[in-house]
């Protein structure tokens, strides 16, 4: 019987992730109310920051970064379906 070599993972620095989340939340509020940026640019930047923060939580706090691909797929599969759901209904408005 041969046991395959175990992949090793070191626990991430959770406090650093918390700091990133905190700084990005402040950046979002400043961007929304204080910084002189065009409305479209503001919308894009705010969405990028929100997705970035959500990714940090999913990858490091929920440990998706360290899970097998089979498990990651369970969480990833609904995301394109969610995008299709929203996009198809928006297309109705566009027409």
């Amino acid at each position: 019987m041969t046991t395959s070599p175990a992949t090793t993972h070191v626990r991430p620095n959770y406090m650093r992730i918390w700091l990133y989340l905190f700084v990005m939340t402040i950046a979002e509020v400043l961007l929304a109310f204080e910084l002189p940026v065009s409305q479209n640019m503001k919308l894009i930047l705010l969405l990028i920051l929100a997705v970035w923060k959500a990714m940090l939580v999913a990858l490091f706090f929920m440990h998706l970064k360290f899970e097998r691909w089979r498990l990651r797929l369970i969480f990833i599969v609904p995301l394109p379906l969610a995008a299709i759901l929203v996009l198809t209904v928006i297309m109705e408005h566009v027409r």
């Binding site: 046991t3 070599p5 959770y14 939340t25 929100a50 929920m62 969480f75 995301l79 969610a82 759901l85």
Partner: protein, 240 residues
């Protein structure tokens, strides 16, 4: 028969995994539930986006109706609760069942599972408390799921500046706001109740150990997901 050298993997819990996804059944069950919850919140957020960008009248401007600094504080609380939850997980994975313990040469005491989970429960409870306070204030000012209440402060402001306060579609604004944040608040409340249950039935009697802490990992996944959803909601409801 050869055995590879076992190096400590801090991200692999020491219990038997089901074949396939490589995790135990309750964790797999939680992931499947979370995947279904993604679709639930997508339905809510997607409907909001469609309603908001589909109407011709202007939506109320960010900060005009909602108290963004107060919600910013709530976001901070939820982020703190998420990090304390993952610290609780790390503590029990290292076998630290205690509340606080002195460490030689360090000023700050080392927190164990009992400490970090209690911090998470307090932050989660505070989040719900602030949200209830926010709802009471908002309804008091005149925004309800049906729109601006006649004769209220917000209704008068909306009459004076209909563009800033989105006077024509206040009903849509109120109903989408209360539906999305209300369902999220319900999720947070369920999480706090579940953590309280675990705290009194499993954590205080020290039933979890470094060899088995499945309950903490599963409730942790749920809690981080609730935080993740709030990150998206905060941006699209309060800031955009």
């Amino acid at each position: 028969m050869t055995h590879a050298t076992h190096t400590l993997d801090q991200m692999r819990p020491p219990y038997p995994a089901e074949p396939g996804a490589g995790v135990y059944s309750s964790k797999l069950g939680m992931w499947v539930f979370l995947a279904s919850d993604v679709m639930f919140f997508t339905a809510l957020i997607g409907s909001y986006v469609i309603l908001r960008f589909g109407v011709s009248s202007p939506w109320a401007r960010p900060g005009a109706v909602l108290n963004v600094p107060l919600t910013g504080l709530n976001t901070f609380l939820l982020i703190c609760s998420s990090v304390s939850m993952v610290k609780a997980y790390a503590a029990i994975a290292d076998g630290k069942k205690y509340f606080l313990r002195k460490v030689a040469g360090k000023t700050l005491q080392d927190g164990g599972l009992k400490f970090w989970l209690l911090v998470t429960i307090i932050c989660g409870g505070a989040f719900v408390g602030v949200q209830v306070f926010e709802y009471i204030k908002l309804v008091g000012h005149g925004i309800t799921p049906a729109g601006y209440r006649e004769g209220s402060e917000l209704a008068e402001k909306a009459l004076a500046d209909p563009v800033k306060y989105g006077a024509n579609i206040a009903g849509l604004y109120g109903s989408t706001f209360f539906t999305m944040t209300g369902f999220h608040g319900f999720h947070v409340t369920c999480g706090v109740i579940s953590m309280l249950y675990l705290y009194f039935t499993k954590v205080l009697p020290e039933k979890y150990s470094a060899q088995d802490y499945r309950g903490i990992e599963v409730i942790g996944l749920y809690w981080h997901f609730v935080d993740l959803v709030w990150i998206i909601l905060f941006t699209i409801v309060y800031l955009i």
